[in-house]
């Protein structure tokens, strides 16, 4: 399940309020979340996310448990989020909604091509190679199913 795309660099402690603001939560229209993702940080960012890999600082996704944050990133076209650490609810939400997340401390160069493999943990940025903490087999199964809903449907 290799993913690749140009890097988008973000800082540390990105909270879920910044990923998707509370005022946009009351809808089931997922495109609303994709349109307004990161709006209060950089309104132009949403349009640049399709096909990218986010490389962020520590504690990505802290704060509110809103699953819309993970969904918004996936709907906006983000292929993977790499950070040294994630807030645990966001981390579970990402796996459960089919957004690959990898725990790794690696440098970010805006726009530089990133090739990441959540199964092996291997991350290539240019000619540099990094290794993320590997995900458990169950997490990988959920991810490759496309999320926990699809995983459950397959199980039935």
């Amino acid at each position: 399940m290799k993913v690749e795309g140009p890097a988008v660099c973000l800082g540390a402690d990105i909270d879920t309020d910044i990923i998707i603001a509370g005022r946009y939560l009351r809808t089931k229209d997922r495109s609303v979340w994709a349109t307004h993702v990161f709006e209060d940080m950089d309104p132009a960012l949403a349009l640049r996310l399709r096909g990218t890999v986010i490389v962020a600082g520590k504690n990505f996704g802290c704060g509110s448990s809103r699953e819309q944050a993970a969904i918004a990133l996936r709907e906006a076209g983000v292929r993977c989020v790499i950070a040294p650490s994630f807030a645990r609810i966001f981390f579970r939400n990402a796996i459960n909604t089919g957004l690959p997340v990898m725990e790794c401390e690696c440098p970010c160069m805006e726009g530089k091509e990133v090739v990441a493999d959540p199964a092996s943990g291997r991350i290539e940025i240019g000619d540099q190679v990094f290794f993320a903490r590997p995900l458990s087999p169950r997490m990988l199964e959920i991810l490759s199913a496309g999320g926990l809903v699809e995983y459950w449907r397959k199980k039935r």
Partner: protein
């Protein structure tokens, strides 16, 4: 020799465990997504209906027709399924669960990050997202990684006007916003026994602001006596001699009134250092500080005076509101010029009932001061109800006086 998390989850730190969940709950915000995911799973019936709660608190009453429609769908589902359900005006999910439902030793999962509040009762209580919750509806259980634990040892006692919120913000600043990521906090030491259940809920509530999965107190005489009033007979939990991955010692007599300055919960300053900071709004309430004792402390300070800035008060539950209306606290608030909101989360998450305008500053008793949370361009300072009261009277940040 185990930590309380290890004891409740039944395995040593670091293990992955599959556990059945004693109680699970969603609110009107996360419940909508949970219901969608649950339907998409086509999982059949809800595994444990009696323990699957739906509690409306986030945008209550509904602010527009979209919200109203989503709430109507969830309300209908809860009623059709016969789930324990509380509608608008009953209160914040964590508070309602803390009024005689959550019990020591239970595993409680809520679709809200502040579910850790119920660690005050000696339960392992943690937040999950909506899809995780849908799987719990279907299955009755979920997986956990048993967390390592940071022991927070309290000694001494709080000296007025400092209170539990100041202590909570102080431990968050000592640990930082990700200092306990993936871990649990345990609150221990001689200082704990003097803390009321309301104070313990405030302290456990802020655990997630350090990244923690849970924040636990051992049930003691205070817990047992609180739960006895709700008809439960429970036993104290005795801490084992165990070693903690990390320890933090805090002498409560050193605690002074503090504010968390925007946009980080872990960046605190003494209130004194920022005294005179002009305010546009004061907000008292939330799962952090909307309980009866919080409202009473605030009301005693503003009683017979007038607030000089718009002041919103949202009781955490109908029970809190009812008690305030009997004891006179409610009329003191109204006469002092406060605006009373229905029991619920109020403007904490910036969706309604007190959204900030560009450049406005709010002093709030809540738990998050992230950029733009209560409105684009608004700033949030976090403090205790006593600091909020002194500041509401001054129209600017002010140190509460020591009550005589």
């Amino acid at each position: 020799m185990t930590t309380l998390s290890e004891r409740i989850l039944g395995a040593p730190a670091g293990s992955y465990v599959d556990c059945s969940v004693d109680r699970c709950y969603v609110h009107d915000g996360t419940g909508v997504l949970t219901l969608d995911a649950y339907k998409a799973m086509q999982a059949g019936r809800i595994a444990r209906k009696d323990q699957t709660y739906v509690l409306f608190d986030h945008i209550v009453p509904a602010n527009n027709s979209v919200t109203a429609g989503l709430q109507a769908e969830l309300r209908r589902f809860a009623r059709e399924q016969g789930l324990p359900f509380t509608d608008i005006g009953e209160g914040i999910c964590h508070q309602v669960m803390g009024e005689g439902i959550a019990l020591p030793g239970e595993i409680i999962v809520g679709a809200d990050s502040h579910t850790c509040t119920l660690g005050a009762f000696g339960a392992f209580a943690t937040g999950v997202g909506a899809t995780d919750m849908a799987a719990i509806w279907a299955d009755g259980g979920t997986w956990f990684r048993v967390p390592e634990t940071i022991g927070i040892f309290f000694s001494g006692s709080l000296k007025e006007p400092a209170e539990a919120k100041d202590l909570a913000l102080t431990y968050v600043s000592r640990l930082s916003m990700d200092g306990a990521t993936y871990k649990a906090l345990e609150f221990l030491g001689d200082g704990v026994q003097a803390l009321s259940m309301d104070s313990r809920m405030t302290l456990a509530n802020l655990a997630v602001e350090t990244g923690a999965k849970a924040g636990l107190f051992y049930a003691d005489r205070t817990t047992c006596s609180y739960l006895r009033d709700f008809g439960h007979s429970v036993s104290p939990q005795i801490p084992d001699e165990t070693s903690y991955q990390q320890s933090l010692e805090i002498d409560m007599s050193d605690i002074i009134p503090v504010v968390a300055v925007p946009p980080r919960v872990d960046t605190i300053r003494p209130v004194e250092a920022l005294e005179g900071l002009p305010l546009d709004q004061v907000f008292v309430g939330t799962c952090t500080n909307g309980r009866y004792s919080d409202l009473e402390r605030f009301a005693r300070i503003v009683r017979g005076k007038k607030v000089r800035v718009r002041t919103l008060v949202a009781p955490a539950s109908r029970r809190v509101l009812a008690r305030a209306s009997v004891t006179g606290v409610l009329s003191w608030l109204v006469e002092a010029g406060c605006t009373i909101l229905p029991p619920g989360c109020g403007p904490c998450l910036g969706a309604h009932q007190g959204v900030l305008g560009e450049g406005e500053v709010c002093l709030s008793t809540a738990n998050r001061n992230f950029r733009n949370r209560m409105g684009v361009g608004g700033e949030i300072y976090l403090a205790s109800p006593a600091t909020a009261a002194a500041s509401a009277l001054a129209g600017a940040l002010a140190v509460p006086e020591v009550p005589r």
